[in-house]
Symmetry: C2
Subunit: 218 residues, 2 copies
Protein backbone atom coordinates (compact mmCIF):
# COMPACT_ATOMS: atom_id res chain seq x y z
CA UNK A 1 0.00 0.00 0.00
CA UNK A 2 1.45 3.36 -0.97
CA UNK A 3 0.51 6.69 0.52
CA UNK A 4 2.12 8.65 -2.28
CA UNK A 5 0.08 11.34 -3.98
CA UNK A 6 1.11 14.32 -6.05
CA UNK A 7 1.04 16.41 -2.86
CA UNK A 8 3.23 14.04 -0.90
CA UNK A 9 5.65 13.08 -3.65
CA UNK A 10 9.11 13.98 -2.35
CA UNK A 11 10.80 16.19 -4.90
CA UNK A 12 14.19 16.83 -3.28
CA UNK A 13 16.37 14.07 -1.86
CA UNK A 14 13.95 11.49 -3.19
CA UNK A 15 16.57 8.78 -2.72
CA UNK A 16 15.71 9.16 0.98
CA UNK A 17 11.96 8.90 0.43
CA UNK A 18 9.52 6.09 1.03
CA UNK A 19 5.76 5.83 1.05
CA UNK A 20 5.67 2.41 2.64
CA UNK A 21 2.98 2.01 5.26
CA UNK A 22 5.03 -0.33 7.47
CA UNK A 23 7.94 2.09 7.68
CA UNK A 24 5.61 5.01 8.33
CA UNK A 25 3.80 3.10 11.08
CA UNK A 26 7.12 2.22 12.72
CA UNK A 27 8.03 5.91 12.97
CA UNK A 28 4.57 6.94 14.18
CA UNK A 29 4.75 4.23 16.87
CA UNK A 30 8.15 5.22 18.21
CA UNK A 31 8.26 9.03 17.85
CA UNK A 32 5.31 10.63 19.60
CA UNK A 33 6.45 14.25 19.76
CA UNK A 34 4.98 15.84 16.65
CA UNK A 35 4.13 19.18 15.07
CA UNK A 36 0.68 20.03 13.74
CA UNK A 37 0.45 22.58 10.95
CA UNK A 38 -2.89 24.32 10.47
CA UNK A 39 -4.30 27.58 9.24
CA UNK A 40 -5.56 30.48 11.29
CA UNK A 41 -6.91 33.41 9.30
CA UNK A 42 -5.22 31.90 6.25
CA UNK A 43 -1.77 31.89 7.84
CA UNK A 44 0.31 28.86 8.81
CA UNK A 45 0.71 27.91 12.48
CA UNK A 46 2.74 25.04 13.88
CA UNK A 47 2.01 23.64 17.34
CA UNK A 48 4.03 20.90 19.02
CA UNK A 49 2.04 18.14 20.68
CA UNK A 50 1.98 14.34 21.06
CA UNK A 51 0.48 11.92 18.56
CA UNK A 52 -0.44 8.29 18.91
CA UNK A 53 -1.59 5.86 16.23
CA UNK A 54 -4.55 3.52 16.44
CA UNK A 55 -5.01 1.53 13.23
CA UNK A 56 -5.44 3.82 10.26
CA UNK A 57 -5.57 7.05 12.29
CA UNK A 58 -3.19 9.29 14.16
CA UNK A 59 -4.70 11.10 17.12
CA UNK A 60 -3.75 14.17 19.14
CA UNK A 61 -5.45 16.02 21.95
CA UNK A 62 -5.57 19.29 23.81
CA UNK A 63 -7.88 21.56 25.68
CA UNK A 64 -11.32 21.67 24.05
CA UNK A 65 -10.94 25.44 24.03
CA UNK A 66 -7.46 25.64 22.49
CA UNK A 67 -7.07 27.21 19.10
CA UNK A 68 -5.00 24.23 17.92
CA UNK A 69 -7.88 21.90 18.66
CA UNK A 70 -10.54 24.27 17.39
CA UNK A 71 -8.42 25.26 14.40
CA UNK A 72 -7.81 21.63 13.49
CA UNK A 73 -11.46 20.63 13.54
CA UNK A 74 -12.42 19.54 10.04
CA UNK A 75 -9.69 21.72 8.57
CA UNK A 76 -6.65 20.83 6.52
CA UNK A 77 -3.69 19.86 8.65
CA UNK A 78 -0.15 18.64 8.18
CA UNK A 79 1.07 16.31 10.92
CA UNK A 80 4.84 16.10 10.88
CA UNK A 81 6.57 13.51 13.06
CA UNK A 82 10.33 13.90 12.97
CA UNK A 83 13.32 13.01 15.06
CA UNK A 84 17.05 13.58 14.71
CA UNK A 85 19.02 10.38 15.10
CA UNK A 86 22.53 11.65 14.58
CA UNK A 87 24.92 14.25 13.28
CA UNK A 88 26.86 13.70 10.08
CA UNK A 89 30.17 15.54 9.89
CA UNK A 90 31.73 15.73 6.47
CA UNK A 91 34.96 17.21 5.11
CA UNK A 92 33.13 20.19 3.61
CA UNK A 93 30.47 22.33 5.27
CA UNK A 94 28.18 21.59 2.32
CA UNK A 95 28.12 17.83 2.91
CA UNK A 96 27.34 18.04 6.61
CA UNK A 97 23.97 16.51 7.32
CA UNK A 98 21.84 14.97 10.02
CA UNK A 99 20.42 11.50 10.26
CA UNK A 100 16.70 11.60 10.85
CA UNK A 101 13.36 9.92 10.42
CA UNK A 102 10.46 12.13 9.32
CA UNK A 103 6.87 11.45 8.35
CA UNK A 104 4.50 14.04 6.92
CA UNK A 105 0.77 13.26 6.90
CA UNK A 106 -1.75 15.40 5.06
CA UNK A 107 -5.51 15.58 5.20
CA UNK A 108 -8.49 17.05 7.00
CA UNK A 109 -8.62 16.58 10.77
CA UNK A 110 -11.75 15.00 12.24
CA UNK A 111 -12.92 15.77 15.75
CA UNK A 112 -13.73 12.80 17.97
CA UNK A 113 -16.99 14.04 19.48
CA UNK A 114 -18.72 11.05 21.03
CA UNK A 115 -17.73 10.96 24.74
CA UNK A 116 -17.24 7.18 24.75
CA UNK A 117 -15.06 7.32 21.66
CA UNK A 118 -13.09 10.17 23.24
CA UNK A 119 -12.64 8.20 26.47
CA UNK A 120 -11.44 5.19 24.48
CA UNK A 121 -8.98 7.34 22.53
CA UNK A 122 -7.55 8.87 25.71
CA UNK A 123 -7.15 5.45 27.35
CA UNK A 124 -5.38 4.27 24.19
CA UNK A 125 -3.08 7.28 24.45
CA UNK A 126 -2.04 6.33 27.99
CA UNK A 127 -1.71 2.65 27.05
CA UNK A 128 0.63 3.56 24.20
CA UNK A 129 2.71 6.23 25.91
CA UNK A 130 2.74 4.75 29.42
CA UNK A 131 2.04 1.00 29.12
CA UNK A 132 0.78 -0.53 32.35
CA UNK A 133 -0.11 2.79 33.95
CA UNK A 134 -3.83 3.19 33.23
CA UNK A 135 -5.27 0.68 35.71
CA UNK A 136 -3.51 2.31 38.65
CA UNK A 137 -4.75 5.83 37.93
CA UNK A 138 -7.70 7.69 39.41
CA UNK A 139 -10.44 7.10 36.77
CA UNK A 140 -11.28 9.82 34.25
CA UNK A 141 -14.35 11.92 34.95
CA UNK A 142 -17.02 13.09 32.52
CA UNK A 143 -15.89 16.68 33.13
CA UNK A 144 -12.34 15.81 32.15
CA UNK A 145 -13.51 14.08 28.97
CA UNK A 146 -15.61 17.13 28.12
CA UNK A 147 -12.67 19.47 28.72
CA UNK A 148 -10.45 17.47 26.38
CA UNK A 149 -10.58 17.84 22.62
CA UNK A 150 -9.41 14.91 20.52
CA UNK A 151 -8.66 15.16 16.82
CA UNK A 152 -7.66 12.46 14.41
CA UNK A 153 -6.38 12.21 10.86
CA UNK A 154 -6.82 9.22 8.62
CA UNK A 155 -3.49 8.03 7.22
CA UNK A 156 -4.14 8.25 3.52
CA UNK A 157 -1.62 10.76 2.17
CA UNK A 158 1.88 10.62 3.52
CA UNK A 159 5.56 10.78 2.80
CA UNK A 160 8.51 9.59 4.77
CA UNK A 161 12.17 10.53 4.60
CA UNK A 162 14.92 8.66 6.39
CA UNK A 163 18.65 9.30 6.40
CA UNK A 164 21.09 6.93 8.02
CA UNK A 165 24.81 6.32 7.89
CA UNK A 166 27.97 8.34 7.56
CA UNK A 167 29.02 11.31 5.44
CA UNK A 168 28.76 11.33 1.65
CA UNK A 169 31.72 13.49 0.75
CA UNK A 170 32.71 14.49 -2.73
CA UNK A 171 35.17 11.91 -4.02
CA UNK A 172 38.00 14.43 -4.20
CA UNK A 173 37.42 15.47 -0.58
CA UNK A 174 37.52 12.01 0.91
CA UNK A 175 41.30 11.82 0.89
CA UNK A 176 41.70 15.13 2.75
CA UNK A 177 43.13 14.78 6.26
CA UNK A 178 39.92 16.02 7.91
CA UNK A 179 38.06 14.01 10.55
CA UNK A 180 34.66 12.96 9.25
CA UNK A 181 32.09 10.68 10.76
CA UNK A 182 28.73 10.17 12.33
CA UNK A 183 27.70 10.97 15.89
CA UNK A 184 24.55 9.13 16.97
CA UNK A 185 22.08 10.97 19.21
CA UNK A 186 20.26 9.23 22.02
CA UNK A 187 17.36 10.49 24.10
CA UNK A 188 16.91 8.76 27.41
CA UNK A 189 14.92 9.07 30.58
CA UNK A 190 16.90 10.15 33.63
CA UNK A 191 16.11 9.00 37.17
CA UNK A 192 12.51 9.75 38.14
CA UNK A 193 11.96 12.59 40.62
CA UNK A 194 9.14 11.47 42.93
CA UNK A 195 6.46 13.98 43.81
CA UNK A 196 6.89 15.14 47.42
CA UNK A 197 3.33 14.07 48.17
CA UNK A 198 3.86 10.42 47.26
CA UNK A 199 3.33 8.05 50.22
CA UNK A 200 6.49 7.81 52.34
CA UNK A 201 8.76 5.03 51.07
CA UNK A 202 6.74 4.38 47.88
CA UNK A 203 8.96 2.96 45.18
CA UNK A 204 8.75 3.93 41.53
CA UNK A 205 6.51 1.40 39.76
CA UNK A 206 7.99 -1.19 37.40
CA UNK A 207 5.96 0.15 34.47
CA UNK A 208 8.20 3.25 34.26
CA UNK A 209 10.74 1.01 32.53
CA UNK A 210 8.25 0.46 29.70
CA UNK A 211 7.62 4.12 28.90
CA UNK A 212 7.77 4.73 25.19
CA UNK A 213 7.35 8.51 25.13
CA UNK A 214 10.47 10.57 24.51
CA UNK A 215 12.93 7.71 24.60
CA UNK A 216 15.06 6.88 21.55
CA UNK A 217 13.67 3.74 19.96
CA UNK A 218 16.07 0.84 20.23
CA UNK B 1 11.14 44.32 24.75
CA UNK B 2 8.02 42.27 24.16
CA UNK B 3 7.26 40.27 21.06
CA UNK B 4 3.61 39.86 21.97
CA UNK B 5 1.00 40.73 19.37
CA UNK B 6 -2.62 39.74 19.03
CA UNK B 7 -1.51 36.87 16.80
CA UNK B 8 1.06 35.56 19.26
CA UNK B 9 -0.90 36.15 22.46
CA UNK B 10 -1.12 32.75 24.17
CA UNK B 11 -4.75 32.04 24.91
CA UNK B 12 -4.55 28.64 26.64
CA UNK B 13 -2.14 27.89 29.48
CA UNK B 14 -1.11 31.50 29.53
CA UNK B 15 0.48 30.99 32.96
CA UNK B 16 3.19 29.19 30.99
CA UNK B 17 3.63 31.99 28.47
CA UNK B 18 6.31 34.61 28.10
CA UNK B 19 7.21 37.10 25.40
CA UNK B 20 10.56 37.97 26.85
CA UNK B 21 13.30 38.34 24.27
CA UNK B 22 16.05 36.99 26.53
CA UNK B 23 14.15 33.80 27.26
CA UNK B 24 13.25 33.37 23.61
CA UNK B 25 16.87 33.88 22.54
CA UNK B 26 18.03 31.30 25.09
CA UNK B 27 15.74 28.68 23.54
CA UNK B 28 16.66 29.60 19.96
CA UNK B 29 20.35 29.33 20.88
CA UNK B 30 20.12 25.89 22.49
CA UNK B 31 17.45 24.07 20.45
CA UNK B 32 18.31 24.06 16.76
CA UNK B 33 15.95 21.38 15.48
CA UNK B 34 12.87 23.29 14.35
CA UNK B 35 9.75 23.02 12.23
CA UNK B 36 8.86 25.52 9.51
CA UNK B 37 5.18 25.97 8.68
CA UNK B 38 4.36 27.45 5.28
CA UNK B 39 1.67 27.36 2.65
CA UNK B 40 1.64 25.46 -0.59
CA UNK B 41 -1.46 25.95 -2.74
CA UNK B 42 -3.13 27.44 0.31
CA UNK B 43 -2.58 24.36 2.48
CA UNK B 44 -0.33 24.07 5.53
CA UNK B 45 2.95 22.16 5.31
CA UNK B 46 5.44 21.55 8.11
CA UNK B 47 9.07 20.71 7.36
CA UNK B 48 11.69 19.89 9.99
CA UNK B 49 15.03 21.60 9.61
CA UNK B 50 17.73 23.38 11.65
CA UNK B 51 17.62 27.03 12.66
CA UNK B 52 20.33 29.30 13.97
CA UNK B 53 20.06 32.83 15.32
CA UNK B 54 22.21 35.77 14.40
CA UNK B 55 21.13 38.93 16.15
CA UNK B 56 17.52 39.77 15.35
CA UNK B 57 17.06 37.00 12.79
CA UNK B 58 16.63 33.26 12.73
CA UNK B 59 18.02 31.54 9.66
CA UNK B 60 17.45 28.19 7.99
CA UNK B 61 18.72 26.65 4.80
CA UNK B 62 18.12 23.95 2.25
CA UNK B 63 18.55 23.14 -1.38
CA UNK B 64 17.88 26.19 -3.56
CA UNK B 65 15.43 24.02 -5.48
CA UNK B 66 13.49 22.62 -2.51
CA UNK B 67 9.87 23.54 -2.12
CA UNK B 68 10.46 24.46 1.52
CA UNK B 69 13.01 27.04 0.49
CA UNK B 70 11.07 28.24 -2.53
CA UNK B 71 7.78 28.13 -0.60
CA UNK B 72 9.24 30.14 2.24
CA UNK B 73 10.62 32.92 0.05
CA UNK B 74 8.80 36.10 0.99
CA UNK B 75 5.83 34.13 2.20
CA UNK B 76 4.27 33.91 5.64
CA UNK B 77 5.93 31.31 7.81
CA UNK B 78 5.68 30.02 11.34
CA UNK B 79 8.98 28.85 12.81
CA UNK B 80 8.38 26.61 15.80
CA UNK B 81 11.31 25.60 17.96
CA UNK B 82 10.30 23.10 20.61
CA UNK B 83 11.88 20.48 22.78
CA UNK B 84 10.56 18.05 25.37
CA UNK B 85 12.49 18.25 28.63
CA UNK B 86 10.64 15.69 30.70
CA UNK B 87 7.57 13.60 31.36
CA UNK B 88 5.14 14.55 34.09
CA UNK B 89 3.23 11.63 35.58
CA UNK B 90 0.21 12.54 37.67
CA UNK B 91 -2.34 10.55 39.64
CA UNK B 92 -5.00 11.04 36.96
CA UNK B 93 -4.59 10.62 33.21
CA UNK B 94 -5.92 14.16 32.78
CA UNK B 95 -3.11 15.78 34.76
CA UNK B 96 -0.29 14.02 32.94
CA UNK B 97 1.83 16.51 31.08
CA UNK B 98 5.23 17.07 29.58
CA UNK B 99 7.87 19.61 30.45
CA UNK B 100 8.94 21.54 27.41
CA UNK B 101 10.29 24.76 25.97
CA UNK B 102 8.62 26.06 22.83
CA UNK B 103 8.99 29.24 20.79
CA UNK B 104 6.73 30.21 17.90
CA UNK B 105 7.91 32.95 15.55
CA UNK B 106 5.65 34.51 12.93
CA UNK B 107 6.34 36.68 9.93
CA UNK B 108 7.35 36.73 6.32
CA UNK B 109 10.50 34.86 5.36
CA UNK B 110 13.20 36.78 3.49
CA UNK B 111 15.60 35.07 1.11
CA UNK B 112 19.29 35.81 1.57
CA UNK B 113 20.26 36.34 -2.06
CA UNK B 114 23.64 38.05 -2.06
CA UNK B 115 26.32 35.32 -2.37
CA UNK B 116 28.59 36.97 0.21
CA UNK B 117 25.74 37.32 2.69
CA UNK B 118 24.80 33.71 2.04
CA UNK B 119 28.39 32.56 2.58
CA UNK B 120 28.54 34.51 5.83
CA UNK B 121 25.26 33.00 7.00
CA UNK B 122 26.46 29.47 6.26
CA UNK B 123 29.75 30.05 8.09
CA UNK B 124 27.77 31.37 11.04
CA UNK B 125 25.65 28.21 10.95
CA UNK B 126 28.73 26.00 11.24
CA UNK B 127 30.26 28.24 13.92
CA UNK B 128 27.09 27.97 16.00
CA UNK B 129 26.32 24.29 15.51
CA UNK B 130 29.91 22.99 15.37
CA UNK B 131 32.16 25.54 17.11
CA UNK B 132 35.78 25.25 16.11
CA UNK B 133 35.11 23.16 13.01
CA UNK B 134 35.01 25.71 10.18
CA UNK B 135 38.71 26.45 9.82
CA UNK B 136 39.58 22.79 9.33
CA UNK B 137 37.07 22.17 6.54
CA UNK B 138 37.58 22.20 2.80
CA UNK B 139 36.47 25.76 1.85
CA UNK B 140 33.00 26.33 0.36
CA UNK B 141 32.79 26.76 -3.39
CA UNK B 142 30.72 29.24 -5.38
CA UNK B 143 28.73 26.32 -6.79
CA UNK B 144 27.86 25.12 -3.31
CA UNK B 145 26.77 28.59 -2.26
CA UNK B 146 24.59 28.83 -5.35
CA UNK B 147 23.03 25.43 -4.69
CA UNK B 148 22.11 26.43 -1.14
CA UNK B 149 19.06 28.50 -0.34
CA UNK B 150 19.08 30.52 2.87
CA UNK B 151 15.99 32.08 4.38
CA UNK B 152 15.67 34.26 7.43
CA UNK B 153 12.90 35.65 9.59
CA UNK B 154 13.16 38.79 11.67
CA UNK B 155 12.23 38.13 15.28
CA UNK B 156 9.40 40.60 15.76
CA UNK B 157 6.35 38.52 16.60
CA UNK B 158 6.80 35.61 18.93
CA UNK B 159 5.47 33.65 21.81
CA UNK B 160 7.13 31.26 24.17
CA UNK B 161 5.74 28.59 26.44
CA UNK B 162 7.73 26.77 29.08
CA UNK B 163 6.63 24.09 31.53
CA UNK B 164 8.90 22.87 34.28
CA UNK B 165 8.49 20.92 37.51
CA UNK B 166 6.38 18.10 38.83
CA UNK B 167 2.72 17.15 38.49
CA UNK B 168 -0.12 19.51 39.40
CA UNK B 169 -2.70 17.05 40.64
CA UNK B 170 -6.15 17.94 41.84
CA UNK B 171 -5.96 18.50 45.59
CA UNK B 172 -8.23 15.51 46.30
CA UNK B 173 -6.01 13.24 44.20
CA UNK B 174 -2.74 14.09 45.85
CA UNK B 175 -3.35 11.83 48.83
CA UNK B 176 -4.10 8.79 46.65
CA UNK B 177 -1.49 6.01 46.90
CA UNK B 178 -0.42 6.43 43.27
CA UNK B 179 3.19 7.09 42.26
CA UNK B 180 3.51 10.53 40.68
CA UNK B 181 6.56 12.43 39.62
CA UNK B 182 8.70 13.88 36.93
CA UNK B 183 11.09 12.03 34.61
CA UNK B 184 13.65 14.33 32.97
CA UNK B 185 14.66 13.63 29.38
CA UNK B 186 18.20 14.03 28.18
CA UNK B 187 19.54 13.99 24.64
CA UNK B 188 23.20 13.23 24.33
CA UNK B 189 25.79 12.47 21.72
CA UNK B 190 27.06 8.90 21.68
CA UNK B 191 30.60 7.91 20.71
CA UNK B 192 31.55 9.21 17.25
CA UNK B 193 31.75 6.64 14.46
CA UNK B 194 34.74 7.63 12.29
CA UNK B 195 34.31 7.49 8.54
CA UNK B 196 36.25 4.51 7.13
CA UNK B 197 38.15 6.87 4.83
CA UNK B 198 39.65 8.95 7.64
CA UNK B 199 43.46 8.78 7.75
CA UNK B 200 44.61 5.70 9.66
CA UNK B 201 44.96 6.45 13.37
CA UNK B 202 43.35 9.91 13.16
CA UNK B 203 41.77 10.83 16.47
CA UNK B 204 38.46 12.60 16.82
CA UNK B 205 39.12 16.34 17.12
CA UNK B 206 38.67 18.13 20.45
CA UNK B 207 35.99 20.42 18.99
CA UNK B 208 33.48 17.53 18.94
CA UNK B 209 33.08 18.11 22.67
CA UNK B 210 31.75 21.61 21.95
CA UNK B 211 28.97 20.56 19.58
CA UNK B 212 25.74 22.32 20.43
CA UNK B 213 23.43 20.66 17.92
CA UNK B 214 21.10 18.00 19.27
CA UNK B 215 22.48 17.90 22.77
CA UNK B 216 20.30 18.77 25.77
CA UNK B 217 21.30 22.20 27.01
CA UNK B 218 22.90 22.02 30.42
Amino acid sequence: MTLKTERTRVKRGNNRATYDREQINAILDSVHFCHIGYLRAGLPFVTPTLQWRDGDYVYWHGSSASSTIRGGRGLPVCVTVATMDGLVLARSAFNHSVNYRAVMLLGDAEPVVDPDAKATALKTMVDILYPGRWDGLRPMTATEIKATGVLRLKITEASCKIRTGGPMDDEADSILPIWAGEIPLQTRLLDPIPDPRNPVGMEAPAHLADIVLGRTAT
